[in-house]
Symmetry: C2
């Protein structure tokens, strides 16, 4: 950020009065421009024991597999965002949605919120941002070709719950260490 | 938003290629400025059956009571954000934090995420944004002087779980209807 989105003049990084961290502040109109984490909302959609995956047709991670998910939009609920992403990326309608996981990824300032549910009529087809979609049993999931670690961790939690015969809402974080290693912690 | 924060030139509202909703787009450098919901992270901190409340020293809702909570910051986890807010607003350290509630409020594009935990040493005192803090049994909570409906709903869910002897992670939304009435739905 270099310019004030309200008045177009220069902004500078400074700690506003009463605050304790640097913000972009306009030197002309005094507007403080806060920057905050984004929510990524998505679905673990099940049909006859198989899970819906999408092959990405866009960067980042073009050609890799993921769960239908994307940035939550203003004026929607998290659940609406998750359902919207399943429809946009896989033309899929999800029933009986339950909050499954909440995973913070602080080094990219994102919080992933996944809902589990059942895929209506077992139907899905590639949306604009997908090259392909498919339904996969646990053992057939292309684990080596997944787009994002958070998707792998969410699916591992899901199949754990399937085996235990009981679902709950999981939460945790994926932290990037100084040596670039990612660590998933569940609480 | 009137100006591009990257180059300082005019932005206009338009639907970018491949998108399906209006965004602020710079006519000069083509930057798309997305706007997304914010997370509010907070705590239900318990000590000897009482809950920590803060009396707000700032607008909105100056003088009303609330749970310690505030906007999640970049580069932190939701849990860290909740703990930070308890420290800033009530100089309170919270132990054994568990995700308690996730409530979307689409008309203000916010998602409240409350953690429950125990208040270390039962200690709290007013931080900069609080006029006062206090520990309240359910029957002594100033229900008529609470700052935000989402705080009332979170506390009602909490005391329900206390009575049931079992805590779980709750989620739902507070929707504003055309007649301005707020409706809380839990899933």
């Amino acid at each position: 950020m270099k310019f004030c989105s309200s008045c177009g003049k220069d902004v500078v990084l400074q700690i506003p009065d009463g605050d304790n961290r640097q913000r972009y502040v306009c030197q002309h109109c005094d507007t403080i421009h806060y920057q905050n984490p984004n929510i990524v909302a998505g679905c673990i959609a099940e049909h006859e024991g198989k899970i819906l995956l999408c092959k990405r047709a866009i960067d980042p991670q073009l050609g890799k597999w993921t769960l239908p998910a994307g940035f939550m939009e203003n004026k929607e609920t998290v659940m609406q965002g998750a359902a919207r992403e399943a429809m946009e990326e896989a033309h899929a309608a999800i029933l009986d949605m339950q909050l499954f996981s909440v995973i913070s990824i602080p080094h990219i300032s994102q919080v992933y919120m996944m809902y589990r549910g059942t895929l209506l009529d077992g139907f899905a087809e590639a949306g604009e941002e997908s090259e392909a979609v498919g339904l996969y049993h646990e053992e057939d999931i292309p684990w080596q070709d997944m787009a994002f670690p958070v998707v792998i961790e969410s699916l591992k939690l899901y199949f754990e719950d399937v085996k235990n015969g009981e679902f709950r809402t999981h939460y945790g974080d994926i932290v990037k260490h100084d040596d670039m290693r990612l660590q998933f912690t569940r609480y």
